[in-house]
């Protein structure tokens, strides 16, 4: 069974902390994505990567950065966590231009 695995289901962090969210996929997908999901706002794209070490900004990249050193792993970094970054974070992966995404189960991040 193909999988996208997010390292944490729930995280609580303090304002100003540097936060790492990890995502691993076992499908040999080239593309990987980070979304955040908030009530009433749907899924908003933060960053995506179409190859190792390649990344592009999505719709809401401010306050975030990403790292993709290996094909199967895509990390989202909150440089200095703020309370407005409290959200559900979803990682997804796909082949280029073929089919849909496979999503992970999400990480619910609370910044206090």
């Amino acid at each position: 069974d193909v999988k996208v695995t997010q390292s944490s289901r729930y995280l609580v962090k303090r304002t100003g902390e540097k936060v790492f969210l990890e995502c691993v996929q076992d499908m040999d997908h080239e593309n990987m994505f980070w979304y955040r999901q908030d009530p009433g706002l749907g899924l908003r794209l933060i960053y995506f990567s179409y190859d190792v070490k390649m990344k592009e900004k999505g719709d809401i990249p401010e306050g975030y950065s990403v790292s993709r050193e290996k094909k199967e792993r895509f990390s989202l970094i909150l440089e200095s966590a703020s309370t407005n970054q409290t959200s559900m974070y979803l990682c997804a992966s796909s082949f280029p231009r073929v089919g849909g995404y496979t999503f992970g189960s999400g990480t619910r991040l609370t910044v206090v």
């Binding site: 994505f33 749907g42 089919g99």
Partner: protein, 112 residues
């Protein structure tokens, strides 16, 4: 031109009824239209998808209807069941794009 507009925001249906969720798009370059189903605490999962060369696709109780001239597509859930209660997202992608553009989501509640 990149938006996908989804309605309604929420929907309540009696068991055995038909649930209908609608999406509209502007970009005529879109050529792949998936629907995702998301249960609470889980990531979205691909439910069914269609390409614009067909007007309808059916998988079990789930049907996508596609109207290319009107730039609209809809999800019909026949014989709706309480287990169908979830949030549904439509999406679209162009053939030259890595990214899916998501609708804002519809929260479906099927009453017993």
């Amino acid at each position: 031109q990149q938006q996908v507009k989804q309605s309604p925001q929420s929907l309540i249906v009696q068991k055995g009824g038909i649930s209908i969720i609608n999406c509209a798009y502007e970009n005529t370059a879109f050529d792949y239209f998936p629907w995702y189903q998301q249960f609470p605490g889980k990531g979205p999962a691909l439910l069914i998808a269609i390409r614009p060369d067909v007007s309808e696709k059916k998988e079990g109780r789930f049907t996508i209807s596609f109207n290319k001239s009107a730039k609209q597509f809809s999800l019909h859930i026949m014989d709706s069941q309480p287990g169908d209660s979830a949030t549904y997202f439509c999406a679209a992608r162009g053939d030259s794009s890595y990214k899916l553009i998501f609708g804002s989501g519809t929260r479906l509640l099927v009453r017993p």
